[in-house]
């Protein structure tokens, strides 16, 4: 596929890398020679220097042949205008734009569309990161929670506690401790930092992290079986570091969920703004690395600590400080790739990476078939795909046991109408089913073939 990417920042860079590795024809546009050089040094793509909204620049980037344009520069207005130019002059099929300003995003329904600004998908990394943080808050004894099929299916990531009934059990024998009335599928397993899709013989040990696919309404029962208590949902004390785009979005939502929030923000003007816009939160101006300030603000009494500044170092260090004070639940926002492996090594397991979430939500539109969701698990080597099984697609041909899946691929759950099915080998997928499947990143293109329609599909 011919793809034009505007902006070679963190988001643009990572998407370009993924798409190029998968064999697409990618060109990357940026106004910074340095950023383009970094792209040219690391991947096989075409680079074009210039203003991303200028017709001549878009032409040079191959917009006339492109099926997809991803406008991910730092500037909302450039991104919107580039989509308009790509549409009017070059008829690019699908256009996506990164838009951060809430003022635009709040009017998205009226602003964007075929007859308005021609943008097919608005990407808001900050908003996606904020949603991910809030999901972690809602299932705070989990390390991660993701929702699929309109919220019917949850993938819950938990660290197996030492005294859990699951310790020492093989995945294939879990029915000894998990009642039949609680259907689950263990779809990912981390042991000593290595992630894989478990087989029936994989044994779960204390400290391992696992992901279970289950019906959303079964989450509480599952947590009880694992031996993790669900925290109270309302009235939790939350300390939130950083009141930028992400911090503000999270604070708004937590306020709605009835949490008691303290926001620590270093910029006085921003504090003023936050105080005006967050009616129920306490906004404190100060340095998140100042231990005496944190103590004054009663860090030791917090239920949740969320480090959401733009600065990864501040987020990592303040998260470590919160661990010292035994805050039970810490969420750390990590923007840059180099840190994500490192932070797990130093014991911060609850990481949110806007880069991952954004890349996944863009990439899902590049996949063939009717794909509704795409996200990563664990260290990013495993991917979750939610796709509709369509008439004539191969996934519907036979019971699952008889379908030739790539290795390390598992169907976590299926939604048929309103019913959640936790499948076994005898289950047969039907046209119209939503299938949530976990696989390794390198097998994704083989997996998507199973969902592609046949030639005869009209």
């Amino acid at each position: 596929m011919n793809i034009v990417i505007l902006g070679a920042g963190e988001v643009g860079y990572n998407i370009a890398d993924r798409l190029a590795v998968e064999g697409n024809d990618v060109s990357v546009v940026d106004i910074s020679e340095d950023r383009l050089q970094r792209v040219a040094d690391n991947m096989d793509v075409k680079t074009v220097l210039g203003n991303a909204a200028h017709p001549s620049v878009l032409q040079q980037a191959g917009a006339a042949d492109a099926e997809l344009l991803i406008a991910a520069t730092q500037n909302d207005e450039v991104n919107m205008l580039a989509c308009q130019v790509a549409h009017s002059l070059f008829h690019v099929t699908t256009k996506m734009a990164r838009i951060r300003e809430r003022d635009y995003v709040n009017q998205a329904d009226k602003l964007f569309g075929r007859d308005e600004l021609p943008i097919d998908l608005v990407i808001s990394p900050e908003k996606e990161a904020a949603l991910a943080v809030v999901r972690r808050f809602r299932v705070s004894s989990a390390v991660d929670m993701q929702e699929f099929a309109g919220g019917h299916i949850s993938l819950v990531g938990v660290r197996v506690p030492p005294k859990s009934d699951l310790v020492g059990m093989a995945v294939g024998d879990l029915n000894e401790v998990v009642p039949a009335s609680l259907p689950i599928n263990i779809v990912a397993h981390e042991h000593n930092g290595g992630w894989k899709v478990p087989g029936a013989n994989s044994v779960l040990l204390a400290g391992d992290t696992i992901y279970a696919a289950l019906d959303r309404k079964d989450i509480d029962r599952f947590m009880a079986v694992v031996g993790l208590d669900q925290c109270k949902q309302t009235g939790r004390n939350v300390m939130l570091i950083g009141g930028g785009h992400v911090g503000y979005e999270v604070a708004l939502e937590l306020q709605r969920l009835g949490a008691h929030i303290k926001v620590i923000e270093h910029n006085p003007d921003r504090c003023q703004w936050l105080a005006e816009h967050l009616k129920e939160a306490m906004v404190i101006q100060g340095d998140a690395m100042d231990k005496s300030l944190l103590e004054e603000e009663a860090i030791a009494q917090m239920d949740d600590f969320m480090a959401l500044t733009n600065d990864d170092e501040v987020n990592i260090l303040s998260s470590l400080i919160s661990r010292q004070y035994k805050v039970p639940h810490t969420v750390t926002l990590i923007n840059r790739d180099v840190y994500s492996g490192l932070v797990r090594a130093i014991g911060l397991s609850n990481i949110v990476s806007p880069r991952f979430t954004t890349a996944a939500s863009i990439l899902r539109h590049v996949r063939r078939g009717r794909v509704f969701g795409l996200s990563t698990l664990g260290d990013g080597s495993l991917e979750v795909l939610e796709a509709e099984a369509m008439q004539t697609s191969r996934i519907t041909d036979a019971p699952l046991a008889a379908i030739n899946f790539p290795e390390s691929t598992i169907i976590g759950a299926i939604v048929r109408g309103d019913a959640v099915i936790i499948p076994d080998g005898a289950t047969q997928v039907q046209a119209g089913d939503h299938v949530v499947l976990i696989t390794q990143q390198r097998h994704l293109s083989m997996v998507e073939r199973l969902f592609e329609v046949n030639l005869e599909f009209f």
């Binding site: 596929m1 006339a64 099926e67 078939g369 009209f458």
Partner: protein, 139 residues
């Protein structure tokens, strides 16, 4: 079956989109953007590049009363995300009326079957005019 006016003899297009827009340009009575959107939406669900350098993009077109076929030949070949990963040299665009007639499927199957023949594909690549190409599809 294929009007000689509906043939692009030697396309120079460099992409799937380029190929399709050259073909759609031969259909002045249709809304080019709409045809492109419908065909590309179908391509997204699964490529119609069926291997051996052949692609059969197709779509249902509201307002059409009978099927329309456009043929395009590309000497160098163009990337069409074909199932065998090979470049595509022969593209047949099939647009059919938006109804439930099973005849569309038969027409598509008939074209696909016909193009299974290596001899026919060679003849198509060797043809020297649009008329000669059209003659290969006379019933």
């Amino acid at each position: 079956m294929i009007a000689s006016d509906n043939i692009v003899l030697d396309s120079q297009a460099g992409s799937k989109r380029g190929v399709l827009s050259e073909m759609i340009a031969l259909l002045p009575s249709m809304d080019a953007d709409q045809v492109m959107d419908l065909v590309m939406a179908r391509e997204k669900l699964g490529s119609t590049g069926i291997g051996h350098g052949v692609a059969l993009p197709h779509a249902r077109m509201p307002g059409l009363t009978e099927p329309v076929i456009v043929l395009l030949r590309h000497r160098d070949g163009v990337d069409f995300d074909a199932i065998d990963g090979q470049p595509v040299h022969l593209v047949l665009l099939l647009l059919v009326p938006d109804d439930d007639d099973k005849g569309h499927l038969d027409l598509l199957a008939q074209l696909a079957r016909k193009l299974q023949s290596a001899t026919l594909r060679q003849q198509m690549m060797a043809a020297e005019s649009r008329e000669e190409l059209a003659a290969l599809f006379k019933r």
